[in-house]
Subunit: 414 residues, 2 copies
């Protein structure tokens, strides 16, 4: 029941873009217990693509490809499939009509060039593109099922969700593989590993892994077994142990973000929130509003990059800025209190710090961050020194600010 | 002069870790003008690894592999090389002594298990590991050079820097490939391709590619030729043609972001900017402040998610919200004007729209976005319908807002 992924696009071999499609598809297949044996990237080159298609056709049961379905001359996936698998390209009128309608919706006439996207290899099934233009394709060659998806990540992912994963589930392609992910923040990888020492010997068939990133450390538990019931039981037992060991640092499971968890906690308590941002420049508000429906609890924010903005828009006192500076606990607390008052909300978060690469000093080094929270109980702040480049310092500030609110809300009654 | 990358490790096929080795090696090879034709990942499985090695040996001139050089039983790269290329494994006393010395330095006796790392396929050259234990290997098979590196990213990168890249430079492997990237925004991929139709026939040796993403479309020009001077000239000519055809839509070249370009334009004109965000939730400010030194021109922003915040913090009129709604041209213009006044800056940008997935209507569908800009000449706005999921609508809104400011500034004297 093995699968193979082929991502197509010269840009993938130039170091310009990250191959997020391969990453995401591997994850989705692993999630339904399908093992990926090969992952290949080739450029927009018909001969090399053909080579990869032929190799996959002979060794894999399921092949997922992305890319090369656009309308420009460098998009040659359809043509290559026609050649390799000896299927004539036929203009599909339904696809063409659907594409024309898409353009009409936007009030634009479809350029002639896009017609090539309706040329479909004969005998292939169309996978409708709900997010864009180019349809996906599904066909079989001997024992292999080919799923041919567009390169635009959101379009490829939508087709995985709407067609490929349900198809594979229905054909019971997945073997007895189980995985759990416990997401934590506020505890280091090594501290977590120490607390979990010996845990692997309790269930030797389960592989324990640690995956650190800007929003904490994920603990992964993975196992394969012919005995589904045993597998579920063993994973349940070990997941419980991990959750006990990590305590309040646990914020979620696979696929959950801190912003989603925070949103749920706020909704359950019927509370609203606002943000007063300096170092994160708007990233905290962007994270909170990445959750659909966040307008029910997020009222807004102020990005106070200049001192004047901190004073005028958030009411930070001149004396505070003069005595402690903009990167200080009192400034963080006044920013949060000011935002809470301006927006008339229950909670407000604030961020202030030195993002780098310049602007650091011995006393206030690059990576120094103060995060504040204001509630009806008053204002508090926490001090951090984050490592990494500018973008990482900012990303960690966002995560730990969300966590500050999460931990505060855990202590409030629902 | 083509290269191929093979990354080895079951974890790469489980979707939990990013294949940073492949990303980094592609970048390093592109940097010295070596084209990568295939990038493959396989698990710690001897048969599949052998398969990948054999394919690479027959089609690539240079093959870089990472992973599978550890001491545990699942590390089978050395054994597989011995089998595939018929080279006997021999215990290398020099390598063994060096490894023992490493352990002694740490005050530890070398475990017997590690001896396997000194088993070297006969006739291969050792690449010393300055960052860790397992040595790298270099050997040739027919026309192909194999560089076999460890999976630990820092160790693999050190070997690339200290051995592989200098070797390839010395053999002049990479001198005959050139690349240009022209970054555009505000013109669709197919419109761009139509304007550039026939351009490929002007310089048939140059491959033209299109890479669309949230911040526009990148046009890539790539070519290989034995004649370096001709190559540079041909790329110069074609780049000029692309820049002419795309006109004001061109904002930068390889490695440049819209936020950087905007920052430079503002600094050159000694102007300041602020943001009034609704649909982007802070993402616009986050993009502007992703640039080091942005505090010199970015004063701050208001994230006005609720109508009340739009009125109280940005001075949007109640009548405007009642008559036109928060997602409208007048609201966008008043938001921008309000931010400009609040922050006392030269320019202000605003974003308002329907991010989805819910909240859309026939009149105001998901993806409808108004972007505003206020300057001393007054306020303007532009209407867009962006496709994609919530995160994409937001990302496109950020990019097009930055572009609105960029185009405005291009018309202002320096």
């Amino acid at each position: 029941m093995s699968a193979e992924i082929i991502t197509i696009g010269t840009e993938l071999l130039h170091g310009l873009v990250r191959d997020t499609n391969a990453e995401r598809i591997v994850e989705l297949l692993a999630g339904i217990g399908i093992e990926v044996h090969y992952k290949t990237s080739v450029g927009d080159d018909s001969a090399r693509m053909a080579d990869a298609f032929r190799a996959a056709a002979h060794r894999a049961r399921y092949v997922v490809t992305t890319g090369g379905l656009g309308a420009t001359p460098d998009d040659v996936t359809r043509k290559t499939i026609a050649t390799v698998f000896r299927r004539r390209l036929v203009l599909d009128e339904t696809v063409l009509d659907r594409m024309r309608a898409r353009f009409r919706e936007r009030g634009v006439e479809m350029p002639a060039m896009n017609e090539s996207q309706a040329l479909i290899p004969k005998g292939t099934k169309i996978i409708e593109n709900l997010r864009g233009l180019a349809p996906g394709l599904h066909f079989t060659y001997q024992e292999a099922n080919f799923f041919v998806l567009p390169g635009v990540p959101a379009e490829a992912e939508a087709m995985m969700d709407q067609y490929v994963v349900p198809f594979l589930r229905a054909s019971r392609a997945g073997s007895q593989v189980g995985r759990r992910i416990v997401r934590t923040i506020g505890i280091s990888e090594s501290a977590l590993a120490e607390r979990l020492q010996g845990i692997e010997s309790e269930e030797p068939a389960i592989k324990v892994g640690y995956l650190p990133h800007a929003s904490g450390v994920d603990v992964t538990l993975a196992a394969a077994s012919p005995d589904r019931a045993w597998l579920t039981g063993a994973l349940d037992r070990l997941e419980l142990r991990v959750r006990e060991a990590a305590g309040e640092a646990v914020y979620g499971e696979e696929g959950e973000t801190l912003a989603q968890v925070l949103g749920r906690l706020l909704l359950a308590r019927k509370l609203t929130i606002a943000a007063a941002e300096s170092i994160t420049g708007g990233g905290l508000g962007a994270a909170i509003t990445s959750v659909p429906g966040s307008s029910r609890y997020f009222l807004g924010g102020v990005v106070a990059y200049s001192n004047r903005a901190k004073q005028e828009l958030l009411g930070v006192r001149t004396a505070t800025l003069e005595r402690h500076g903009a990167v200080s606990a009192p400034a963080a607390e006044e920013m949060a209190a000011g935002a809470r008052e301006r927006f008339g909300c229950d909670l407000a978060l604030s961020t202030t710090g030195v993002a780098g690469p310049n602007g650091g000093s011995d006393e206030k080094p690059v990576g120094l961050v103060y995060l504040g929270i204001a509630s009806r109980d008053g204002s508090e702040s926490a001090r951090f020194i984050f490592s990494g480049v500018r973008a990482e310092v900012s990303a960690r500030s966002v995560s730990y600010a969300l966590d500050l609110a999460r931990r505060h809300l855990l202590r409030q009654p629902v």
